[in-house]
Symmetry: C2
Subunit: 159 residues, 2 copies
């Protein structure tokens, strides 16, 4: 079973594809969609949607898991993240994939056994769980973590 | 010049197509995408995107004007509205259209000369400006109002 984990953002969207065979979990690939600061909102949304649609066609995941919004941020940045999540969920549903969401607390608990783990701890735990040579960059690590979380929790409620 | 005004929402999205010939503004059509309460978020986003993409192909507007988010609401509903705005802006940019946004205050000032006008006043003013037989339903009236606002203000900054 292949899970595409996504950490959505208008500046950087983390992507992590994880595969489970029996009790073994491995990393297929990870990436980050990084967008230049001078791009407009509409171009950002189009680029995120196009990239994600292409990645889904190429890698054929069975389901998508997405990080829920962390409510500690300011309202404007939460709304902007909502825009990015909108086009990400759209790309998944257009490909016929179910989308589950997990809170940052659930994700950190799943990979680091501790809901308030720092970004660096998540990177190190993802590296250890997936037996990677080096820790992935932060947003890709978060995306891999949400995919691992989905395999651990097996949440059935979809967005 | 044809402007498609949009009042985005996950439950009801208002649409209003307005045409300017010289100094005369007329209504081409208006509609509301109304979604049943039991639909999932992903189905809502897909339905809004599909409907809007179809309407853009059929009606060929020159530009899209969208209502900005009203920050008085609670954070969760603002984020959800962000999702809807995301797929709406995407549909417009995928069709090569520029998207401008206007605050509720700007829109109400443009049609009712008063930034704190009630919904009913907006409906009546839109009816009068566009010489309609009856006031459009509230969300379609808001969409027509944002299209009228775009023609009045001619904002050049696009999203």
């Amino acid at each position: 079973m292949r899970i595409l984990g996504i950490d959505p953002g208008l500046n950087v969207t983390g992507l992590g594809l994880v595969e489970q065979n029996g009790r073994s979990i491995s990393c297929v690939e990870y990436d980050q969609i990084v967008l230049a600061r001078n791009l407009s909102l509409s171009v950002r949304l189009k680029t995120i949607h196009e990239n994600l649609a292409g990645i889904i066609i190429r890698t054929r995941p069975d389901a998508v898991a997405i990080e829920d919004i962390f409510y500690g941020k300011n309202v404007q940045s939460l709304i902007k993240q909502g825009h990015a999540r909108g086009v990400i969920i759209l790309a998944a549903v257009q490909a016929g994939l179910a989308v589950s969401e997990y809170s940052p607390l659930e994700i950190k608990k799943a990979v680091a056994c501790y809901g308030r783990a720092e970004k660096q701890q998540v990177q190190q735990m993802v590296r250890a769980i997936l037996r990677l040579d080096e820790p992935p960059p932060p947003d890709a690590a978060d995306a891999l973590a949400v995919a691992i979380c989905h395999l651990h929790c097996g949440k059935k409620d979809c967005l």
